[in-house]
């Protein structure tokens, strides 16, 4: 089926899929500024994300055929020129980001129209497209400094997007400012780290860097410092505990659409960068044996899973609760990565994909409620099971997936995580995984009970569903969650290919 879709696309697009994936949304962002109204800008946004998604499909096919797709920007050959390099690992993330981008774009219009002032619609979509460009760019580039540039492109536009929530709730402004400070520090750390590596190796191309790192003495201070700076910097972006402090407020007060899109993509892309550096730029042997990153990431991940799930239990605001849950879920992914085995990495990546789907669905449903009932407190959700059954059923399914119920995607990835833990002899980590799942039962159960069994605060006689534009992508995600729950082979194939690609080194450090 993939071949049929790809063969129907123009040759130019197939040949230049890698740059077009990034450039089309960028150009459309520029055009958005000149559109007469927000609706046109919305159309352009959909166009941009669909085109990127198609490019990602093309790349998926090409990676399947050639293994690695390398595109030399400007015709300058790497390592001097900038290279877009797609392998089994990042094609997964490209698919996730662009796929979620399409669904997010489709669903955005009703909530953007309701939450953003009308004269800002065009610029809002322009900022969103730039953010999208940045995230896709991080995932596609093969150049360490270029990665930093794209990271900043996405981050700066994200600050703007979060701040636009100020129309609805003024607290978005300090949240955005907080995020700006934290994010900038993170980016600075990252670029300092890249600087150290450049000093040690004299190159910025990641493959070249890996080859040169392989022959540098393992005790080299510049390399160790570079590694540490990079991981801390990315840790801020990925909201790894305790560097997550920006996230709950940013998610809680940003416009609904932004929260949904970011939760499904932004931290995921940062985790991609962690994997990229931890496994391919630095060889796994260096990361896990010489530096023993396991004993840094493992405990942090476990603390995140426990502490943030625990915090989620006590939240009264729905989006804050889901935000804390996100930090805890980042812990799951990090735990998978921290094991340092192929099984663990693929389990972590599998959970990452699934979490993108289900958190996206949850935030979409919340956006629907914000739209129809103007409330984000959990008490506002009481009794909505009757008032908005379609929205809330999707919400419930995604919520059960978050808990890890069988027949949902969340169960599958938790299963793989647990198996990787037990196979690796990580009994304690397995205990933490189930303890955190149990906390998820409590915080999601509380919400679901309010939704389906409590009387509404003020009786709502009229049935008010979210608009169809919102319901279609919402149910798309929900059905995907269920589908992966009963048939996950193809996702497993993807994540296993990704994990394998991560273990193909540019070399290993002695």
């Amino acid at each position: 089926m993939l071949e049929t879709i790809v063969s129907a696309l123009p040759d130019l697009m197939v040949a230049n899929a890698a740059p077009l994936l990034v450039v089309v949304p960028l150009i459309l962002a520029g055009i958005c500024v000149f559109t007469p109204n927000g609706r046109t800008a919305w159309g352009l946004t959909i166009l941009g994300s669909v085109s990127s998604f198609l490019c990602a499909l093309i790349l998926l096919l090409q990676v399947g055929t050639y293994g690695v797709v390398s595109y030399h920007l400007g015709g300058f050959a790497p390592p001097l020129g900038i290279e877009f390099r797609v392998d089994g690992l990042n094609v997964l993330f490209l698919l996730l980001v662009t796929g979620m981008g399409v669904l997010a774009a489709v669903f955005s219009w009703p909530t953007v129209a309701a939450e953003i002032r009308v004269e800002k619609h065009r610029l809002f979509y322009a900022a969103h497209l730039i953010c999208f460009t940045g995230l896709a760019g991080v995932a596609i580039t093969g150049d360490a400094f270029n990665l930093f540039v794209f990271l900043e492109i996405s981050s700066i536009s994200t600050y703007v997007l979060v701040a636009l929530g100020g129309t609805r709730d003024r607290r978005a402004l300090p949240a955005a400012f907080n995020y700006l400070i934290m994010g900038t520090i993170g980016a600075t750390f990252f670029v300092i780290g890249v600087g150290f590596l450049y000093a040690a190796t004299g190159t910025l191309n990641m493959v070249d860097m890996a080859e040169r790192l392989a022959v540098i003495d393992a005790g080299n201070r510049a390399v160790v410092a570079g590694f540490a700076f990079i991981m801390v910097g990315l840790g801020v972006k990925a909201a790894i505990w305790p560097l997550h402090q920006w996230l709950p407020n940013a998610y809680a007060y940003a416009p609904s659409f932004v929260t949904m899109f970011l939760s499904a993509t932004a931290t995921k892309v940062a985790i991609y960068a962690v994997v990229r550096f931890g496994f391919t730029v630095f060889a796994p042997e260096y990361t896990f044996e010489t530096l023993n990153i396991t004993y840094v990431f493992g405990p942090l991940a476990m603390i995140a899973m426990l502490v943030c799930s625990f915090q989620a239990v006590f939240q009264t605001d729905m989006r804050r609760m889901l935000a804390y849950s996100s930090v805890a879920q980042v812990g799951y992914m990090l735990l998978g990565i921290a094991i340092g085995t192929s099984a663990g990495l693929s389990a972590g990546l599998f959970h990452l994909v699934n979490h993108g789907l289900m958190k996206g669905a949850l935030f979409m449903a919340v956006a629907g409620v914000v739209l129809t009932y103007q409330g984000t407190r959990i008490s506002d959700f009481a009794g909505l099971g009757r008032a908005a059954p379609l929205t809330m059923t999707a919400f419930a399914i995604a919520g059960l997936s978050l808990i890890g119920m069988p027949l949902t995607a969340g169960f599958q990835s938790k299963w793989y995580l647990l198996q990787a833990m037990l196979d690796g002899g990580w009994g304690l980590a397995a205990v933490v995984v189930v303890a955190s799942s149990f906390l998820a039962v409590i915080y999601m159960g509380r919400v679901l009970q309010a939704v389906f069994f409590q009387a509404p605060v003020n009786p709502r006689k009229i049935r008010r569903e979210a608009p169809a534009l919102l319901l279609i992508p919402l149910w798309g995600l929900t059905l995907a969650t269920l589908y992966i729950g009963v048939q996950a082979d193809w996702v497993i194939d993807l994540v296993q290919a990704a994990a394998q690609a991560s273990f193909v080194p540019g070399g290993g450090i002695r």
């Binding site: 130019l12 230049n16 740059p19 077009l20 450039v23 960028l26 150009i27 962002a29 520029g30 055009i31 500024v33 000149f34 595109y71 030399h72 920007l73 400007g74 015709g75 610029l123 322009a126």
Partner: protein
Amino acid sequence: MTSHHVILRVVSKLLMPVIVVYAFYVQFHGDYGPGGGFQAGVILAVSVILYALVFGVPEALRAVPARFAASLAAIGLLLYAGVGVWAMLNGGAYLDYDFLVEDVPGGHKGQHLGILLIELGVLCTVSGSMLTIFYAFAGRVTEIRDEDW
């Protein structure tokens, strides 16, 4: 306009064309020496900012409207990306300047044109963004009055 700060106004009036010319010097000299779109864009924006500082933001807005500044940023972006796509449409890689124009083998016409256009795009975007940021801060009206805090 008030009549004080006469010296300041006269001097800045004199300086302004110089600043603009210098901006373009940096811009075009970027091909051969230090310089380029980033620096030139900032210098160009500075000329307008100086004008706004001396003559007031409303005056500056009359000369360079905020909408124009924002559009300038977008135009620069489109110019940059457009050059890349143009090269791609001509059969080259994205941003491969050699494919911009027909040329004899081994010629560098395309390279010249490409870097010129790209730097022009950078100039537009940087100056446009600088001005937009400046206007956003300088032109901001307090939405909550001081006594309401």
